[in-house]
Amino acid sequence: MSHLTNFEVFLLLSVLKVAVVLVITLMCVAYTVLLERKLLGRMQNRWGPSRVGPFGLLQPMVDGAKLFLKEDLMPLAVERPLFLLAPMIALGCALISVSVVPFGAVTRVSGVDIFEVANVNIGLLVILGITSIGVYGIALSGWSSNNKYSLLGSLRSTAQVISYELALGLSLVGVVLRAQSLNLRTIVDSQSAHGMLSWNIFGGFQFVAFFIYMMAAYAETNRAPFDLPEAETELVAGYHLEYSSMKFAMFFMAEYANMITVGCVATLLFFGGATSMFGHVFDGFLNTRFFNAVFPVLWFVVKVFGFLALYIWVRATLPRFRYDQLMSFGWKFLLPLAMANIIVTSFVLAMRG
């Protein structure tokens, strides 16, 4: 690589990283769908999909083929530009959030960190911003469908998402106070001192913030028990009623990609990210460059997988909120609790000096 300038090396490696992360994320989205169906099935005392391939592992391929081959219906009265734009915004925003997430330890190849696509000083604000922009996908899909019920479903969902964005943002302030930075690498590093004891949820005492973050994230991603706007029995399946085949698949993928993003952010902020559970106890064990690069990624994947399983478990267990219960929960319970958490955290940190 000696005949390329530094900038060209950086550019090539970045493009490679983006391509690899995108492909892996899309594969994870497809297999999250399968994971959900299997886990839901097991919790309901039945097998999930188990016929296609061993343990149903080829099911996402077959589902993808089915969705591609379905007829792409576009009703005459829809507003075409917005109709086509809405699923693109939803899926695009869901996938962009993965670009600031560090999913491994700092490993440099030709001076470029290969386990993070973009190391931005305001990484946490980028994730919050992308979540805010994702609201447009929902709002525009209902509007452009030119259908009263879709419009009502999308207005409900938009109101739900923007209400819970507040609690989401505020619950992360405690973590930022402890780490003194918005850079996701710095936040992960502030939790790496003593393994599990220095994670933000245990050593940083941010369990209230974690609880608020989980509730707000479930509401943001429109997942059970907050999935009123898109449940099949409510308002004729809500804002993605008029969409079929590829565009519906994009909404569907956007929901699962948002789940994965929430899992990634929760592990980074509350569970120590890619650091191991045992801290520095086993540092001398298998201390080669290859294992130092691979093991943190494995820890990260295990933690995100735990969050996905938690999502699916909650979906299988809890009944749905009614819309007014949902809104009053967000505004009257989570928001004051998040503000109280900020006050208590900053008080304790000021006392400690």
Partner: protein, 168 residues
């Protein structure tokens, strides 16, 4: 490279603003304004204001404009019509806007050398990054305006709730 970034996103902002002017339905104007705001966020980032870029995306285009889009969808007012008032406004509005633009650009272009050049990326006074610098000033020297704006927002929330309530 900063010039390329400026031309692309400045052009996008300008196209969005012109689209706002020429569209008939208010929802298309609102979405054009979202495009303008996102490209302005990129321009702020290139001028070194990272926190403002994030605030522009989160607050302005992610909350305020969502509120606008929400109200437009709720009220469902429809496209604009050509009325007598609108034709008179064309006669006064376009020359007025053009006059203001000519005045401003004359002032800026005549002082072009005194204004100098800006570089990509921020300046750091005595802080580690842009956010630390903004917050150092905001929470020490400008604490009173900061608290006053929080009271302002509280008053605005109360006002909006009272004004938009149904008559009982």
């Amino acid at each position: 490279m900063q010039l390329a970034l400026f031309i692309i996103f400045g052009g996008l902002a300008l196209a969005g603003a012109l689209n706002l002017l020429f569209q008939r339905h208010p929802i298309n104007s609102a979405l054009s304004l979202v495009v303008v705001m996102m490209s302005l966020a990129v321009l702020y980032w290139s001028l070194g204001a990272e926190f403002l870029a994030a605030a522009q995306v989160i607050v302005y285009s992610g909350a305020i404009m969502v509120l606008f889009v929400f109200v437009i969808m709720l009220l469902n007012a429809g496209e604009e019509e050509k009325t007598h008032g609108s034709r008179a406004a064309y006669g006064a509005g376009i020359p007025g806007a053009a006059a203001i633009f000519c005045l401003l650009s004359f002032v800026f272009l005549s002082e072009r050398d005194a204004l100098g050049k800006v570089s990509v990326g921020g300046f750091l006074g005595n802080a580690v990054d842009n956010i630390a610098e903004v917050s150092a000033t905001l929470f020490t020297k400008l604490l009173l305006p900061f608290e006053v704006t929080s009271i302002l927002i509280l008053v605005a929330i109360l006002g909006a709730v009272v004004l938009a309530r149904k008559e009982q």
